[in-house]
Symmetry: C2
Subunit: 542 residues, 2 copies
């Protein structure tokens, strides 16, 4: 037995094929206890086989003398506690045999340039860090506390145990920073309600893969779980259950503060004018009454764009949302608007006439979205909208971010070109619809995406702010969320953080991702297996 966290066996069994070769096994053995064992792969690193034993009884985190942040820095003090447990799982869980090789102390000294300990991470936060591990100490330097958090995660992944339970870390030099500044995961809490605990646990796992944005698709057609201060009826009548299936203001605060401690932004989405069936239950006259011939059918369509009351409602709702969610971005949706109900409604048709839109309902949607974007602009927030808005309407405020979710590689690359050509910033989700499960190693598809492989200038490429893994909720709730997300989402995480040239081989990534998956399992994350094999420490829960 080697003392790797993961050992893999090539199986000849039913529907199984050898998926990697001896070369990779050798890479695995030689490298997994060095920086190559870090997921996502750091931008630049050197490491040696020189290793230092770590004794949890003589292991310390400290602030460097020149560090802007010192004792009582909320974000870092909390991180030190968390990472001590993550670095020494046996010690804290009391499990396993520990044999200390002497009691030499080891100190991780953190130095940050800005004492942004009580702020929130934002779109411009630097996550760059520099980590130097040598005898008796590691120096971790970063511009911000958020960068320091990424460095702590990297350090925690460098530590390993031998077969006797002794902890070691190898001599290492790392200079690291993210390739993309926006690395998100979308959770959908409308099609199924996710208990707050499930969201918090997901935030933990996100940080292990260095994701930095939680896109909270909090409401949609099926339910409205957000409990609004201004419009409490939205959840009391629009949620699956008015008491047990809602997010109270304190629930939301809890999610935001938990995310902050991991350096994760919380991006709320209140999708309109479509995907709003549940809104109609608690807010009369908000949705468009659909007509059968000359009489109302009793059913409702998208938000009614012709009533002034609609915009008064939205202004008040987004005023609340922008105060509850500190992030500078708000997601406004704007996707999949079904025009048939608008078409059926005489008032809407009359409005089209008046506005000179003719029969082009995309103009009406554009008119609506423009008004909503203006509301959020007035609130000093940056709007994100799904690509539909751009497809229907090239005239959008330049600082709006466009979110690509549709199509094949060919079509989303075309869309990337067109949007960036128009000077718009873009977020790519299309290749990472991770809710679409398939048999086998579909993580390979998420890994081999090349986000900047579209025709455009260097300036255009700079407009791609990042990517997002979407876990839509049709078939997902707290029972299966974690194994469906991990480690499949981690494949996208490396694509979004690491250098593409250094991570071009999916076969070389395979044993590294298997190793990382075992680290997740060791940390209590129900991350599913990639293929035949085992982890030194299997998941023990049921």
């Amino acid at each position: 037995m080697c003392n790797m966290e993961v050992m893999c066996i090539v199986s000849f069994g039913r529907y199984t094929r050898p998926k990697f070769n001896l070369v990779l096994l050798i890479i695995l053995q030689l490298s997994l206890h060095t920086v190559e064992g870090v997921w996502p792969l750091p931008q630049s690193f050197t490491s040696s086989t020189e290793r230092y034993p770590l004794n949890p009884k003589a292991f310390y985190f400290g602030y460097g003398r020149q560090s802007a942040a010192q004792q009582d820095c909320s974000v870092l003090d909390a991180a030190f506690k968390r990472y001590f447990s993550l670095i020494f799982p046996d010690y804290t869980s009391g499990y396993g045999v520990l044999r200390f090789s002497g009691d030499k102390p080891f100190t991780v000294e953190i130095r940050v340039d800005h004492a942004d300990c009580d702020s929130y991470p934002n779109e411009n936060s630097s996550e760059r860090y520099n980590l130097s591990v040598s005898a008796g100490q590691a120096s971790l330097n970063a511009e911000t506390v958020w960068g320091a958090l990424r460095g702590l995660e990297t350090f925690s992944q460098l530590v390993y145990q031998d077969d006797f339970g002794t902890y070691f870390v190898n001599k290492t030099e790392i200079d690291d920073f993210p390739r993309f500044q926006f690395r998100g995961i979308l959770l959908d809490t409308s099609r199924h309600y996710l208990p707050v605990q499930a969201i918090l646990k997901t935030l933990d796992a996100m940080a292990y893969s260095k994701f930095n944005v939680f896109h909270w698709h909090i409401v949609d057609d099926p339910s409205f779980p957000y409990q609004s201060r201004t419009f409490p009826d939205l959840s009391s009548t629009g949620a699956f259950h008015p008491m047990t299936h809602i997010y109270t203001q304190s629930d939301v605060r809890r999610v935001i503060s938990h995310a902050r401690l991991w350096g994760i932004r919380v991006l709320p989405e209140f999708d309109s004018p479509g995907h709003t069936q549940s809104w109609g239950k608690g807010q009369s006259d908000l949705l468009t009454p659909c007509y059968r011939g000359s009489t109302p059918s009793g059913t409702f369509g998208p938000v009614n764009p012709v009533l002034p009351s609609t915009y008064q409602f939205m202004a008040r709702l987004f005023k609340e949302v922008s105060s509850v969610f500190p992030d500078s971005y708000i997601h406004l949706g704007g996707d999949e608007v079904d025009f048939s109900c608008w078409k059926s409604n005489p008032d809407v048709r009359a409005f089209m006439q008046k506005m000179g839109f003719g029969g082009d309902f995309t103009k009406l949607e554009a008119f609506y979205m423009e008004k909503i974007v203006n509301i959020t602009s007035a609130l000093k927030k940056t709007s994100i909208v799904w690509q539909d808005v751009f497809d229907y309407h090239e005239r959008i405020p330049k600082d709006t971010v466009l979110h690509i979710w549709k199509g094949t590689p060919a079509s989303y690359k075309e869309e990337l070109s067109r949007m960036t050509k128009a000077g718009m910033r873009v977020l790519l989700a299309a290749p990472w619809y991770i809710n679409h499960i398939a048999y086998g190693q579909d993580w390979r598809n998420y890994y081999t995406v090349q986000p900047l492989n579209f025709s455009g200038t260097e300036e255009q490429k700079k407009l791609v702010i990042g990517g997002e893994v979407c876990m839509w909720g049709e078939y997902v709730d707290a029972t299966n969320l974690t194994p469906r997300l991990w480690p499949r989402a981690s494949a996208a995480a490396e694509r979004l953080w690491s250098d593409e040239k250094q991570t071009s081989s999916v076969d070389e990534a395979f044993p590294r991702l298997q190793d990382f998956r075992c680290k997740l399992v060791r940390r209590g994350i129900r991350a599913e297996p990639l293929h035949v094999g085992h982890c030194k420490h299997e998941y023990q829960g049921v």
Copy 2:
């Protein structure tokens, strides 16, 4: 809000389509608190809206005077304890508000014909039961304690709570029995090791769907976790890890006794001559040395069928296995034998000559399997073999059971005809390879299978002993086993237990299965959602 365990919303969201209609919602509302709320659907039943409140403080299980089994019947005493907690989750968990409507006692009186309390369920065990629920009492009659267990499960599913937490059961008459005698689930503990706890939890969930056979595919190419008394080297060198990734004799006893208390048989599979790479590590000269030209290549193929030592080894191994596993069936595998290594080996070719097999290696495999089947016959065990053995070799002892795992509906129906025409008993697994996940409601495919819809006489149809859901382990371990199994396997469970005519509509099954899935979640089983919606009690773990 209605007081159903499940409430469903038709979503218009991304990649979502309305999956059922108002009619079904009405069926759901009217019926889910009657026998229609029982999964799998009982064979014959009548129920009324007359309901009786149940008070956990005045609820009793008892043995009828004429019952052959009385106090201290191990199986039933244990079942009473389990089902009390399952019937009154709030009471035992202390969760929720209970408002008792009076303290009238309610007694479930069990009467069984045979006091088979300390035996094991077997292929001929009757599972028939009769349940009559009236004011103040329920009478449960069965031929065997195993039938009584099925009746207790049904009773537990009849009990529901109103919005105030009060428990009720409706007036009901049920006469029930399984359509098929063999209703199995296969778990693969070789491609990934499953901790014993995960197996025990699966046995619990199996009983909730009235599965009655746990097919333990315990060893295969990747690992040999079974710790043999006779050949300890098989696991000490063939398991993923000799200490942490094995099943000791006491682990196996624990699984068997836990299964017995649920009325579940444990069918061990020791698959050979193929799928035995891991065996070779602990047993030299067992596998066939492969040759490159005239010299051994260093790799090994299937079990070596030409050495007498092979059959001496197998005789000793199966002697142990047949004593450790009390069931009268043993699965011998026999699938997917790769002939290339046999072909390359000069000793094997010489043996072929001597036996007059010419170049037909299927004859060699048949020769091997016949010897193994004879070994188990001598041990008074019934052999099950995968279909390959029949395909290669029609001359098989008549009492052998053939296991169909290959092909499309067209091809496995053809196989069903041929095998039953030859007078062989058959077990159908092909349509229930549940490890093959797909996006969406693939449970519908498992539900709409018609196991007896093949061309053949009534006598032939009688030879189909049942079906099996296979969860092969390439991509499954304790992290994702439960949500991948449940409730998808439950769809097959109803097909194998219930009357096909009464359960012909998959759309009518949908709300019932959603309700059952919420019952599983309430019982702590991480059963994944079928579609958009919610459970009154969501899964709270992470």
